[in-house]
């Protein structure tokens, strides 16, 4: 299993044609119950910082994505993911494997 996330930071340059829009929408849907203040979610949003999601809830969201896309997102990969955009990239990459 490859855990390389090197292309995760290229997210910004791909914003115009919004690749992974379906993944982004799914993440927003899974984040909703943990976003009582209805903070605006963008790809640049820090999941634990800007969106104030605690570590337990992050893993609930991860499991939701794993089941929806039939992928495995290992725990050590999750600790490298800071923003919503990085999570979109990781899911894209794993789903393509």
């Amino acid at each position: 299993m490859k855990l390389d996330l090197s292309d995760a930071s290229n997210e910004g340059s791909q914003m115009s044609d919004a690749p992974g829009q379906d993944i982004f929408d799914k993440i927003c849907e899974l984040l909703a119950p943990y976003n009582p203040k209805s903070l605006a979610i963008t790809r640049q949003s820090g999941i634990m910082t800007d969106l104030e999601v605690d570590s337990t809830a992050v893993f609930d969201i991860i499991m939701g994505l794993e089941d929806h896309y039939d992928i495995s997102i290992p725990m050590e990969m999750v600790s490298d993911i800071k923003t919503v955009g990085e999570l979109v990239s990781a899911v894209q990459r794993l789903a393509a494997e």
Binding site: S55, T56, M63, E66, D70, S72
Partner: protein, 410 residues
């Protein structure tokens, strides 16, 4: 930039609960009178949050064994077993644990936390894959982090979800799957369906590791834990546990049905590079193991008290996280109210645990009770009457929580 800036949000939450009175995470007892009573100042407190499930910390035989060990070997071992040698008591306790559980190999550690840290980090190599329950204890998660293996979480207590994730993983080239679960979970007190996990692991050829920290000594015909209670002890690859709960001491153990587990003594860093358990700790745990084997009445008494308290709290309308058992967790609506109630309980002579996110599943705020075989029926009646009184004071407690919350956010 200050080195402590990163703790600012933690500091804010900590300051908030301090305003309620005593810091729930920094209680100081002036004296422990026995397994169920302590003193804060000169106030007597009923202890219902110590994980002292069998009440053996004041058992005369356990105390005598610890004192005799100090007289024989002194207070500390001052080194690791690899570098500085073992004492005969270390080896004797390992032999006794293996014999009592029918396992091929037993290794003791200096704390329960270090046990899972050492064993999991070492057993799973870079080509292996770890599968852990979503509600795993911090020491399991830290063991996974220290290991070189990818770690996949499955839904709490769901053998079906584990099955799905093992299937998704498929064949692991040059490696194995190691599944880690707990027997009874420390926060909610809910139990794993162990026989079903054994079946799923067998079908996928995965190894199974069960942390029975809160269930060893308490369940099973001879107290070997929930795997024994479900009749599958001999099919579990690894069982870990702690000396700091039913075994009335401090330290931990890992047992395996595989004789080759012995080689990991020379590979587990948290075993090799730390001082071995003190003579008195080992002697107390050894004496407590004898009690676990010979006194099933302790388990019966604990189960009776648990049923009594569970039905009493349920009758009061409290939302309880699991069925009757030695851990009874009451779900509260939020952290500040839970902390306010926790303080009120202590003022009224009852010590329980306050458990708040992120240390709890489902971001719950809990008043957590752990019972002891040393609690009497009257102790349980007293706990129920204190909670009855708390319930009748709910308006005042909610107002206090509200005012602290407002003062904190202004």
């Amino acid at each position: 930039m200050d080195i402590f800036d990163k703790f600012s949000s933690l500091q804010f939450r900590s300051d908030l609960v301090q305003r309620l009175g005593v810091d729930p995470f920094g209680v100081k007892f002036d004296r422990i009178l026995n397994a169920s009573q302590g003193l804060i100042g000169n106030r007597e407190i009923l202890l219902a949050g110590t994980n002292n499930y069998l009440g053996l910390t004041f058992d005369p035989d356990c105390m005598d064994a610890a004192i005799a060990a100090i007289n024989k070997h002194g207070t500390g071992t001052t080194g690791s077993r690899i570098a500085n040698g073992s004492y005969e008591e270390h080896v004797d306790l390992e032999n006794a644990l293996a014999a009592h559980t029918g396992m091929a190999s037993a290794i003791v550690f200096s704390t329960g936390y270090q046990t899972n840290l050492a064993a999991i980090a070492t057993l799973a190599g870079p080509k292996d894959v770890l599968f852990i329950d979503a509600d795993s204890h911090a020491c399991i998660i830290d063991g996974c982090r220290l290991s070189a293996a990818p770690t996949i979480r499955f839904r709490h207590n769901s053998p079906a979800d584990l099955d799905k994730r093992l299937t998704r993983q498929g064949e692991i080239k040059d490696g194995i799957a190691l599944v880690v679960i707990e027997g009874m979970y420390s926060m909610f007190g809910d139990k794993a369906p162990i026989a079903e996990f054994v079946e799923v692991c067998a079908r996928h050829g995965a190894y199974l590791y069960i942390d029975e920290a809160h269930s060893f000594g308490i369940f099973g015909e001879t107290g070997c834990g929930l795997a024994q209670a479900e009749g599958v002890l001999d099919k579990v690859d690894f069982i870990s546990g702690t000396f700091s709960k039913s075994l009335a001491s401090i330290g931990g153990f890992c047992l395996s049905r595989h004789k080759n587990f012995e080689i990991t003594r020379k590979a587990m860093r948290a075993y090799m590079f730390t001082a071995s358990p003190t003579p008195s700790n080992i002697a107390a745990a050894r004496a407590a193991l004898d009690k676990i084997a010979s006194m099933p009445n302790l388990r019966t008494a604990l189960a009776e008290r648990a049923a009594q308290l569970h039905s009493g709290l349920k009758a009061l309308g409290f939302d309880l996280c699991a069925g009757a058992g030695p851990i009874i967790a009451i779900r509260r609506p939020n952290e500040v109210l839970a902390a306010t109630e926790w303080n009120w309980l202590l003022e009224n002579g009852l010590y329980v645990n306050l458990a708040v996110p992120p240390g709890t599943p489902q971001s719950s705020s809990l008043l957590r009770i752990s019972l002891s075989a040393s609690h009497t029926k009257e102790d349980i009646e007293r706990i129920i009457s204190i909670f009855t009184k708390m319930k009748s004071n709910s308006g005042a407690l909610m107002a206090k929580a509200q005012s602290v919350l407002q003062a904190g956010t202004q």
